[in-house]
């Protein structure tokens, strides 16, 4: 029981994003994720963490272990109080970007996880929840 069930990490700087994805790797290792599954989840965490930082002016990431019968997975929740996303469908398209990136962040991250949900509205910030099953 050394592992807490939930962990919340700040996403205020570029270093926080690096630290947050290291934490995701640590959790995935403890749950014995396969290498490819782990790499996909950690990469998605990096994309979404950076997204919260660049577009949401910083926020936080919550890691939790989820279980569904014999299935075990990790759920990551990214929350920011930024300007929000007006057109979510558009934001999920490859190549769509409002920042200096290449626009693979959201759409690409969606492909790297099993479940993906966005809640956002202009002025209300953004919450992105992803789950990757082991």
């Amino acid at each position: 029981m050394s592992q807490p069930r939930v962990e919340t990490l700040p996403l205020k700087t570029s270093n926080d994003v690096v630290y947050a994805r290291q934490k995701v790797r640590q959790w995935a290792t403890e749950l014995r994720f396969g290498l490819v599954d782990m790499t996909k989840l950690v990469t998605a965490a990096s994309e979404l963490g950076r997204n919260a930082l660049d577009h949401g002016k910083g926020g936080e990431m919550r890691i939790e272990q989820v279980g569904n019968g014999p299935r075990v997975g990790l759920k990551l929740t990214f929350e920011d109080q930024g300007p929000g996303i007006a057109d979510i469908e558009m934001a999920l398209k490859d190549g769509y970007t409002t920042g200096s990136g290449m626009g693979f962040g959201l759409g690409g991250s969606k492909r790297l996880v099993n479940e993906f949900a966005i809640e956002s509205a202009p002025g209300k910030g953004t919450r992105i929840t992803v789950v990757r099953w082991k």
Binding site: L35, T39, S46, E47, R50, G101, F104
Partner: protein, 131 residues
């Protein structure tokens, strides 16, 4: 200050990325590589990413930027040593590193850079054969 070393090997620059990249480190590396190319007249840049456990779009963009900047300065870049899980993830993410040449190992990357000599092939064009 934390910095990624840029080593000189003949006409090549050798860079091994072993730390988790963040913004400042990436910017510093771009500065250092372009500076060294112009200072030493390097014609090739070899970037070993075999220790990287992930390549996200930020790192992918940095690699593409370094390759583009180096090319403008007359040096070709080869990225070597990508782990298979990283390759799978990168392609699924939607980035196949266009404009960045890759090789499996440092040796293969060097062969590519040295073998290229003066006429560096840029992409997948077929060499016209003389009959």
């Amino acid at each position: 200050m934390e910095r990624i070393p840029v080593l000189r090997m003949g006409s090549l620059l050798l860079i091994t990325i072993q730390v988790d990249m963040h913004d400042k480190l990436a910017m510093q590396l771009q500065d250092d590589v372009t500076q060294r190319i112009s200072e030493w007249g390097s014609t090739g840049v070899l970037i070993d990413i075999s220790s990287l456990e992930i390549v996200d779009s930020f790192i992918g963009r940095m690699l593409a930027n370094i390759a583009a900047m180096s090319r403008v300065l007359g040096a070709e870049t080869v990225v070597v040593g990508m782990q298979p899980a990283v390759a799978i993830t990168l392609v699924e993410l939607g980035m196949s590193l266009p404009g960045v040449r890759t090789a499996l190992s440092v040796e293969a990357g060097m062969e590519l850079l040295y073998g290229a000599g003066a006429g560096f092939r840029t992409g997948n064009e077929d060499e016209p054969t003389q009959g």
